[in-house]
Amino acid sequence: MAMLHIVNKSPFERNAFKSCLDHAVAGDSILMIEDAAVGAVDGTVFSSDLKAAMADKSVYVLGGDLAARGMSEDRIIDGIKVVDYAGFVDLTAENDKTQSWV
């Protein structure tokens, strides 16, 4: 019964991403889309929170949203997987359900 959490808010602007991390359970997956993509970058004030969550959760970022904001893939946290929209669809199919942290 794994869940895909979809986050679309910058972790620097809103508490939605933090709230997602606080409520996701072991084995869940987290996908960053839209403004949330900037949360994938390493060396930010948010990256330690995200790394801690990665201990027992899988984390993905939508490549198109990362590139749109000028962040190249080589600066994201090790272990975060970059997906395109086809990969986004696959994640929704592979997990039993999804929750959007709008």
Binding site: I6, N8, I33, E34, D35, G64, D84, Y85, A86, F88, V89, D90, T92, A93, K97, T98, S100, V102
Partner: protein, 130 residues
């Protein structure tokens, strides 16, 4: 897999409509079924035909309309949200005594039950919002 997609923001102001459109296209390409797209809150504003094609940008309302035609999608606008915000089809405009309507081809106006029913019938419900 069968999907119901919920779009809660209008075009342009937030990326939600863009993201939902890209998601629906990708799902269709993979052979999944889009059972219904339900437009709620400001999402109802995606269904207007009075937007003007910009010189160098996408026209989201038209893209939804074209996609609906191409794939015979069921694009449903919530009537209660639409009444607050001024999105009308010919029947509803007439019923309310209004002198115009603004819905674009490919969308229809209906009740919130369509959302619940969509989620019951579908394997997955995906929400795009602010």
């Amino acid at each position: 897999m069968k999907y119901t997609v919920m779009v809660n923001e209008g075009p342009y102001q937030h990326q939600s409509s863009d993201s939902a459109l890209q998601f629906v296209r990708a799902a269709l390409e993979k052979g999944h079924e889009i059972f219904r797209v339900f437009f709620y809150h400001d999402g109802v504003n995606n269904g207007t035909r009075l937007a003007v094609p910009p010189k160098d940008d996408r026209l989201l309302q038209q893209e939804w309309s074209d996609l609906a035609k191409e794939h015979d999608l069921d694009l449903v606008i919530c009537i209660a949200a639409a009444q607050r915000r001024g999105l009308m089809d010919p029947d509803e405009a007439k019923r309310q005594g209004l002198d115009a309507d603004n819905i674009i081809e490919g969308f229809r106006i209906s009740g919130l039950g369509q959302l619940i029913e969509g989620s019951i019938q579908s394997d997955r419900t995906i929400v795009f919002g602010d």
